[in-house]
Symmetry: C2
Subunit: 111 residues, 2 copies
DNA sequence: TCAGGTACTAACCTTTTTGTAAGTATGGAG
DNA sequence: CTCCATACTTACAAAAAGGTTAGTACCTGA
């Protein structure tokens, strides 16, 4: 989130879901709530710091819900809100596109 | 483009269209070819450096086509390839989502 | 000969993002 | 007592992205 005004819907959406991890976290939560540790293992390559950072941000955006179970050892579950679900749905075609062109993409020249 | 392998289609797609500008440039080219200067005015807020940098990258990915007219003053037109079109199409739902929730997004808390 | 319009290019710097590694808090189990 | 699992937190560093400013090359027409 950097801007306050956007030139178009895509501009706004990219600002919300932008970055390396948010879309993947959303994706991982697609099929239901997950604990912090489960997410950590599910989203391959993410560090604990980035995960919590992104989760906090997405929570503040109203995309994910955080449920704390007062136990020891602690248990915290993250799940998608309605808003998060709607965004996830909007991302499906993009995911399909990536899937379809995966080989092409992997063969693309790197900087 | 940072990775060589992806955990899912969305992962790959985000890697291709990631960053602040690519989606917007794609969007701007939706309705047809544009010259460098036209793009510059069309994609609000972008600097010439970022524009050319992103265009070059997208050209190398096969998303946009660059057509040079040997004239003075110079004229260069950028347009979407088939690949670029397909990506643009996949971005439509995301754009719609952003449009639909624009007010909510603008009211989101900033860091 | 000199300004003008177009599409870049280059150097330098600042900001943002991401990564790494270590440390904290909790209460029950042994 | 000490260890364990879990969910963070902190401090620091590196890397990537983005921004600013000035400059180049080209022919044309005044």
């Amino acid at each position: 989130m950097k801007k306050q005004t956007y030139s178009c819907g895509l501009d706004a959406a990219v600002d919300v879901v932008g970055g390396k991890w948010k879309a993947l976290i959303l994706w991982a939560l697609h099929s239901g709530a997950l604990r912090f540790g489960e997410l950590s293992r599910n989203v391959s390559g993410i560090s604990e710091k980035m995960l919590i950072q992104q989760l906090r941000e997405m929570e503040s955006y109203g995309l994910v819900h955080r449920e704390v179970y007062h136990q020891v050892p602690p248990k915290v579950e993250y799940s998608l809100t309605e808003f998060g679900h709607s965004l996830n749905t909007a991302l499906i075609p993009l995911g399909d596109w990536g899937e379809l062109h995966m080989e092409t993409i992997e063969a693309l020249p790197r900087p």
